[in-house]
């Protein structure tokens, strides 16, 4: 996803001189081409993420479009208050790009994983949160994020994700995309974990189930209209996310169901408790937390039988 992202930015930067890329000393093998093509618009501000965020805000308040790039926890958790005050509250047109959200940096250990970015950033005023599921979506959503007037957080994968779309979909910010229209049960998801949901769907189909699969690539603002429609058309809802259940995508869905007095049951799949000291790669950790295709399918089947 990150290669697709930067290729898209490079294309846009050819015609939009407002675009600049800022990094906190990360982006090895990703940002070099942009740096070499646009040396005057590339700024490595060093390992200093609070400064990074507010410099970006200052540039945006003076009409640039800064793209801030780093590993996701370093541009979300570390400088949270700088994002809140300087980017969110002031509606600064900064695009924050966090690579490896979830277990993307699994083997790097807990300090490099990010399971709380969505819940934290959902509270930031004016901020749009986008989590593409594959490189095709990344290209489209990167363009839309940059075109959008206002701050955006783009949560990207980093392990060389495969394309899930067979052709380029029509996407709009704030509108969910239906991967599969099924019946009775519906699964909401976002981000790289969508690949596992689609695999889980194949398993469910061998069990005579045909779930509707909705990709909510824009986590904020959520497509409330679509969610209400799906909730009223299905008997059981599920959410699957590579994030803590506290404050994540499923949590937002639950809020909508409660606020709209909708009775459809919702089962949330995600990381229940903060991970114990388990070391492993993204797939290992996903499986450990019930997010492999097999475990997703198993949990759904169990829930339906309860």
């Amino acid at each position: 996803m990150r290669q697709t992202f930067i290729t898209t930015v490079e294309k846009l930067a050819q015609t939009d001189p407002r675009l600049v890329v800022l990094t906190g000393d990360l982006g090895f093998t990703v940002l070099e081409n942009f740096r070499d093509q646009f040396p005057d618009r590339f700024f490595n501000l060093g390992v200093a993420e609070s400064n990074l965020m507010s410099v970006a805000a200052g540039m945006a308040l003076s009409d640039q479009i800064p793209i801030v790039y780093s590993i996701s926890n370093f541009v979300t958790l570390r400088p949270f208050e700088f994002i809140r005050n300087d980017i969110g509250y002031q509606n600064a047109n900064v695009k924050i790009v966090g690579v490896g959200g979830g277990f993307g940096y699994g083997l790097a250990g807990i300090t490099h994983q990010n399971l709380e970015d969505i819940s934290l950033l959902k509270t930031i005023p004016n901020l749009t949160i986008i989590s593409p599921s594959d490189p095709i979506e990344t290209a489209i959503l990167t363009r839309l994020a940059i075109k959008h007037q206002g701050p955006v957080y783009l949560r990207l994968g980093k392990v060389g994700e495969s394309n899930l779309h067979s052709k380029s979909p029509k996407l709009k910010l704030g509108q969910g995309f239906i991967f599969n229209q099924g019946t009775k049960l519906a699964i909401f998801t976002a981000g790289g974990i969508t690949a596992n949901v689609l695999e889980a769907c194949k398993i469910l189909k061998t069990n005579q189930l045909n779930p509707t699969i909705i990709n909510l690539h824009t986590i904020k603002p959520l497509d409330t209209k679509l969610i209400i429609k799906i909730a009223s058309q299905h008997q059981h809802l599920f959410s699957v996310e590579e994030h803590l259940l506290v404050g994540g995508l499923g949590s937002s869905l639950a809020e909508i169901l409660v606020d709209k007095h909708l009775p459809t049951p919702l089962t949330r799949l995600g990381i229940k408790l903060y991970p114990k000291h388990h070391i492993g790669n993204q797939n290992f950790l996903r499986h450990l937390h019930g997010l492999s295709p097999q475990k997703i399918a198993q949990t759904i089947l169990t829930s339906l039988n309860e």
């Binding site: 700024f43 609070s50 507010s54 410099v55 200052g58 540039m59 945006a60 009409d63």
Partner: protein, 273 residues
């Protein structure tokens, strides 16, 4: 703007009275901090900065960030007297439905950045100065820091960053009154040797009396600005400057004035011109 030092002195005195008036009216503290920074603000808003009060967001305006946002009564008084808003608006300071919060908000005409949480302003200023370079605009960026703010790690992240970016269009002014929220700077986090710290970080470093309008105007006019360095001015100031019982008194970082305080302070200010 004003080039006559006498006129500047009068303006600084008027701003001091405004600070007292609106702080008493709004029953809000931080008067000591406002009185320590007000000569710096007077020099910037009435002599140095290129401003467009009728078009506050003019792209070529100089940017001024009051990073020590708690001293905003000085800023609001200057903005009022430069014509950004009316006297009526000035007196909404710290009231419900006001644009003039207890720390500056970008919603207020003439405020270039929402500040108050310390350690943000210098980075915001760097961003604005970088944008000027990219857009080949000639505006200057001025950031006013407090001494306590130099405890913040992010201030030093920014201090490392600006010289690296060769931002000679950025000037930082430190209101060094040597009193922070809960004690004297030397007892809380001693900043000394302060000048050497900034010098060693690569800044053009000046040191002056932050209540001397002649020293401030001379330094901020800055004819000898180097081509590749940002400037920091360490302005030695006195908390509560201009009101005898507030001067160098930690309590006036916080206290709101009673009618007795107010009357005495106004009497002193009126007689000092």
């Amino acid at each position: 703007m004003t080039t006559n030092l006498k006129d500047l002195e009068k303006t600084a005195n008027l701003l001091r009275r405004d600070i007292l008036n609106i702080s008493y009216h709004g029953q809000v503290g931080h008067i000591g901090s406002a009185l320590s920074v007000v000569d710096i603000i007077t020099t910037l808003y009435f002599h140095i900065a290129k401003l467009y009060p009728n078009k506050p967001n003019h792209p070529d305006r100089d940017r001024i960030i009051l990073s020590k946002g708690h001293a905003c009564s000085a800023l609001y008084s200057a903005l009022y007297r430069r014509g950004y808003f009316s006297k009526k608006t000035l007196y909404t300071y710290h009231q419900n439905h006001s644009l003039l919060a207890g720390h500056p908000d970008i919603l207020c005409p003439g405020v270039d950045a929402s500040t108050g949480s310390l350690g943000h302003g210098l980075s915001l200023g760097i961003g604005m100065a970088l944008a000027a370079k990219l857009q080949k605009r000639n505006y200057q960026v001025f950031v006013i820091l407090s001494d306590g703010e130099c405890n913040e790690g992010s201030t030093w992240e920014a201090a490392l960053s600006a010289p690296q970016l060769k931002l000679n269009n950025l000037t930082t002014i430190i209101d060094y009154n040597k009193i922070q929220a809960f004690g004297r700077t030397k007892d809380v986090i001693d900043l000394e040797p302060f000048k050497q710290k900034w010098q060693s970080f690569g800044w053009r470093t000046l040191e002056l009396n932050g209540h001397s309008l002649s020293q401030l105007t001379k330094a901020l006019n800055s004819p000898n600005r180097p081509s590749s360095k940002p400037t920091v001015i360490i302005a030695h100031t006195v908390l509560g400057k201009g009101v005898s019982f507030m001067e160098n008194n930690l309590e006036w970082h916080y206290w709101t004035p009673t009618i007795k305080h107010f009357n005495q302070a106004m009497k002193e200010l009126k007689s000092s011109l």
